[in-house]
């Protein structure tokens, strides 16, 4: 058994917003038992690499186990802040939906066992 590749949206949903110059992306596993997948796939390094051109500061990930969620905080994500950003999406509202398109890798056996829909 190997790994399967799928979109982050297969295992999670989310929403993003701003505070000053930071953007937070809240991600929640569709099922509580898939939360470990989410924790494994979404790391600070992974987000930093994907958003390398948009995010200049640190990235932190906080666990919210009660709802099977993660809060991803990205500093320096709005070109100095929502009120002066030159980007059209000055409040980072798109970023949450954008990251859900990213490809993740799951252990095939575990994914099957926990009922993650496998792309054909």
């Amino acid at each position: 058994m190997g790994v399967i590749r799928t979109q982050l949206s297969t295992i999670a949903h989310g929403r993003s917003g701003d505070k000053g110059d930071l953007v937070n992306i809240g991600l929640i596993a569709h099922r509580m038992e898939w939360f470990p997948f989410l924790e494994k796939c979404v790391t600070a390094e992974w987000l930093k690499e994907i958003f390398a051109d948009m995010v200049t500061g640190e990235v932190e990930i906080h666990s919210v186990p009660g709802i099977g969620g993660l809060n991803c905080i990205m500093q320096g994500a709005l070109q100095g802040g929502g009120t002066i950003a030159l980007r059209k999406d000055a409040q980072g509202k798109m970023m949450g939906q954008v990251i859900l398109q990213a490809e993740i890798e799951l252990d095939e056996a575990e994914a099957k066992k926990l009922g993650v829909p496998i792309p054909s």
Binding site: S9, H13, G14, R15, G17, D18, K19, G20, D21, L22, N24, G26, L27, I28, E49, I50, F51, A52, D53, M54, V55, H62, S63, V64, P65, G66, I67, G69, N71, I73, Q75, Q79, G80, G81, G82, T83, I84, L86, R87, K88, D89, K93, M94, Q97, V98, L100, Q101, A102
Partner: protein, 527 residues
């Protein structure tokens, strides 16, 4: 079904500019104890402060009047729902005057409006800086001293205490300046659950720590405050918790008629998030979870002026159709500082866009951008940012491989400069591209106006510096004021009212009586 022992609070708007009829819908369709409206975003206070500097009657969220005029004020009066809102912005006094005038128009002459102020800490800043203390940007650590002369406004996020005391003093409507969004709800709960009564009985100051107001037999007042705060956080963005902005947008029913949220909040801190019956949208664990994490930092330490909230172990459970029970939220004592939101002037900005067709839309767009930049290359202080919408503008570098070849593109430029003249020059250079660039460039609209940029500078101030400035001021009609001073005036007023209504006959007496009554509607302020 209405549960006894819970307080029902509506969240009728997420920002200044949200759907104006939402509060009317909530007032008509639900029996609410309090209606809360949040109008203030990070930059709003600065815009309002600038407005007030130009016109002393402005500087508050005028959207409030739109729905109050459209029946809202009568509904508040008839249904005895208390309104708690931060629409006062930089000028709660002018806001309260306008609202009281509306109340009098519908004959609600004994309406009591409380204004909460003291959030404006601009006058404090020079004292603090002058005393040799450093004030640093909360995130970057930059010094406030360097930008002091460009600061437009500085407002501390006040907590729930003043709102609770204002309600306790009999306010039908509470109008505040910069109060933390969730504190609108927490303040209502402190009143509803009798904590405010206790605090007055015990002689507690308006700014004392609200956990000290709790009933003595309550073991975990901080957890209760945390639960109330989270309920406030969940409903303060309006329909974002009832199906708006949801990842489930494809299956959420009838978003056109989305219902706004209602929190049924218990004395123990738990709450049920629901929405108006018979409306569109949906309240599910998924919509509530998304809003729970919206615009928060460390989920174990969500900072508010009232309590530090730990929502990491919070549970969401279905409790009926469109009903989600929120429980398990924990709290710790609020920090010794208050967050201050300030903004300073930082140059000029404008934006413009054009559309461009294929084939090779990307090639045409890049060429157009290059031409514009070449033409402006002699401007030294300008920064131009280009986005190709349709061709992957939303995608960060790590997801660029997902961009597809588009059949057309919107080119969007934004520019900033410390020099207004450079922004005007930039703005003038966009339209000519239609005739002087690649084939098929279109879509030019009005020339973008230069807009002054305000840069956000959040910092912390010690509570004891801010708190003595907090003030509750009651505004009511002269008529009510006279009545409070001497209740015998009632008989006189009734006689004047009769004359004004035309009994006994006599045109002149009626005119005089009406004039007197109008005078009695004048706003009176008392501290």
């Amino acid at each position: 079904m209405r549960d006894e022992g819970v307080t029902r609070i509506g969240g009728a708007g997420g920002f200044w500019g949200d759907q104006v009829f939402a509060p009317i819908d909530l007032l008509v369709g639900a029996d609410l104890d309090y209606l809360t409206m949040d109008y203030l975003a990070e930059v709003t206070m600065s815009i309002l402060a600038k407005q007030m500097a130009r016109d002393p009657q402005k500087g508050w969220a005028t959207d409030l009047l739109d729905w109050l005029r459209a029946g809202g004020i009568s509904l508040l009066h008839e249904k005895k729902t208390r309104l708690v809102t931060n629409a006062g912005g930089a000028n709660p006094h002018a806001c309260a005057e306008a609202v009281l005038a509306l109340a009098c128009e519908i004959g609600w002459v004994d309406c009591r409006i409380a204004m909460v102020s003291g959030d404006d800490v601009l006058p404090l800043i020079d004292d603090v800086l002058g005393g040799g203390k450093a004030v640093e940007h909360m995130d970057s650590g930059d010094s406030l001293f360097n930008v002091r002369s460009d600061i437009v406004s500085a407002n501390a996020y006040l907590g729930a205490g003043a709102i609770a005391h204002a309600l306790e003093k009999g306010a039908d409507i509470v109008i505040t300046g910069r109060v933390a969004d969730a504190s609108l709800i927490v303040g209502s709960m402190l009143h509803s659950e009798g904590w405010a009564t206790r605090s007055l009985d015990k002689g507690k100051a308006v700014f004392s720590l609200v956990e000290e107001w709790a009933p003595d037999d309550l073991k975990n007042p901080l957890d209760v405050l945390a639960g109330w705060t989270l309920a406030g956080h969940l409903i303060e963005c309006g329909a974002q918790v009832t199906g708006g902005n949801s990842s489930d947008w494809e299956v959420i029913p009838n978003l056109a008629d989305v219902g706004y949220p209602i929190a049924e909040i218990s004395r123990n801190g738990d709450s049920i998030i629901t929405k108006l019956e018979g409306t569109g949208g949906s309240v599910s664990r998924r919509t509530v979870a998304e809003q729970m994490l919206y615009e928060i930092g460390d989920p174990t330490s969500y900072m508010t002026p009232d309590v530090i909230v730990d929502l990491s172990k919070t549970k969401l459970k279905k409790a009926g159709k469109n009903r989600i029970k929120v429980s398990g939220t924990k709290g710790r004592a609020a920090p010794p500082t208050l967050k201050v939101s300030s903004n300073y002037r930082d140059g000029w900005f404008t934006a413009g866009d054009l559309v461009i067709p294929g084939p090779d839309a990307r090639g045409r767009a890049e060429k157009t951008d290059l031409i514009l930049r070449e033409r402006l290359s002699d401007l030294e202080g300008i920064e131009i940012f280009t986005e190709f919408f349709g061709a992957g503008a939303s995608l960060p570098i790590g997801l660029q491989h997902l961009a597809t070849d588009p059949s057309e593109i919107i080119i969007r430029w934004a520019a900033k400069s410390q020099m207004r003249s450079e922004i005007i020059e930039f703005s003038r250079s966009i339209a000519p591209l239609v005739l002087t660039g690649p084939a098929g460039v279109a879509g030019y609209s009005a020339r973008g106006r230069p807009r002054e940029q305000l840069r956000f500078f959040p910092f912390l101030l010690q509570r004891e510096l801010v708190e003595p400035r907090i003030q509750i001021t009651m505004m009511q009609t002269l008529r009510l004021r006279l009545k409070e001073m001497d209740s015998r005036i009632d008989g006189v007023l009734t006689r004047i009212q009769k004359m004004a209504d035309g009994e006994p006959e006599g045109l002149w007496r009626r005119r005089v009586a009406r004039r007197v009554l109008r005078r009695l509607e004048r706003p009176q302020v008392k501290n």
